[in-house]
Amino acid sequence: MSAFWQLVRRDLLIAWNEGGTLGVALGFYLVVVAMLPLGLGPDLNLLSRIAPGLLWVALLLAALLSLGRLFETDFEDGSLEVLATGPLPLEAMVAAKGFAHWITTGIPLTVLAPVLGLLLNLPLEAYGVLIATMLAGTPAVSFIGAIGAALTLRARRGGLLLALLMLPLYVPTLIFGIEAIGAALADSETFMPSFLILVAISLAAVVLAPLAAAAALRAQLQ
């Protein structure tokens, strides 16, 4: 277990030293959301109605930016091979890297989302739900994305391929994330079911995605 936390710790340290990766993801999120009102016009009712959807879609795109590098740097400098000879099963290794990605990308994007909600005239009472659904949904984004990162590890221009492969798999997360916010705003009873399904998707991704990603990595190391 200690090897697991050592790996998480190293990835956090690298992300902290680098800084740039997170900055790019946050900056991208900011720019995309700031551009949308310019394109859609200053109709505040329209903006506040579609704000949850816009925030979620832009978050997925911003997270995908850094997901492509999840295993790539370790692959390029040979660390991945040494990690594979380590005491940690490849599945746990993937889980550690997915967890570190969630901390360094999922959480900061979630924290930025309410600020961007201001730009889209998101109703004030939606802010708590927005943060809750994003915290519950972003683990699925990191862990499902890890499958794509492993599959596209050796592909040239893998980032585009990654988006193509992974965005369809994010549909359930997206639907229930947006549905939960909408239900909370409408004071509807469907908030809890939607939110719990979102949590269930994340939990399933945390357990199952490392198995798939590790299988893909084994093939990539051949």
Binding site: R10, I14, E18, D77, G78, P87
Partner: protein, 204 residues
């Protein structure tokens, strides 16, 4: 303890590299893999490390601890050094030491042996190629593992660093470890046997 390869065959990209290759390396011995470029030295090392599945045959460790897989008992030093450019030398070494489960005191010893103590707080990205290689090799000393798999270990090392590496390898052999190294240049390892690969290949 004996590492046994039994009738290994391997092919890369549809080309047969070696077929029905059998050998055994006992504790305290070195096996040097020799052969021209593309003879399959790296492929053989990666097969032993468990990254590649052989087409036929198997590699097994006889008389090792039963609760560890073969690859968990191997130190693999390939062409790449597994060094993170934006971590310092000490942070790199500390991570591998803890991840691979090395004892605490070995960290300073490993850095000192490979002449990296003075560089410990420098980000590894600023190191020269030879210094990075030394940091990659220092991993061998961070955690105790019986089998060392070295792929061209002397690349970009100066003669002093090569002697340090040879000394480390010979100490490892003396303490009952075994070493398999692919090389073009003579390395001066003790008790070494040669395995010539790719002799059957046509010199086209």
């Amino acid at each position: 303890m004996r590492l046994v390869a039994d009738k290994l065959s391997s092919a890369r990209g549809g080309r047969d590299l070696f077929a029905e290759l059998s050998f055994a390396v006992s504790a305290g011995e070195t096996l040097l893999l020799l052969g021209p470029n593309g003879a399959g030295k790296t492929t053989l090392i990666r097969t032993i490390a468990g990254f590649l599945a052989p087409r036929t045959g198997e590699v097994r460790l006889e008389g090792g601890p039963a609760d560890h897989t073969l690859s968990e008992q191997c130190h693999y030093v390939g062409h790449l050094n597994a060094v993170k450019a934006n971590l310092t030398v000490a942070e790199n070494a500390r991570f591998w030491s803890r991840f691979l489960g090395g004892a605490r005191g070995r960290l300073e010893m490993a850095l000192k042996t490979f002449g990296l103590s003075a560089l410990r707080d420098i980000p590894a990205g600023y190191l020269s190629a030879g210094q990075k290689r030394r940091l990659g090799l220092a991993r061998l000393l961070l955690a105790e593992r019986p089998i060392w798999l070295l792929d061209e270990p002397a690349t970009s090392l100066d003669s002093a660093a090569q002697q340090v590496m040879t000394g480390a390898v010979n100490a490892h052999l003396a303490s009952g470890g075994l070493v398999i190294a692919a090389t073009h240049a003579p390395l001066g390892f003790a008790k070494s046997r040669d395995l010539q690969l790719g002799t059957a290949a046509e010199p086209a």
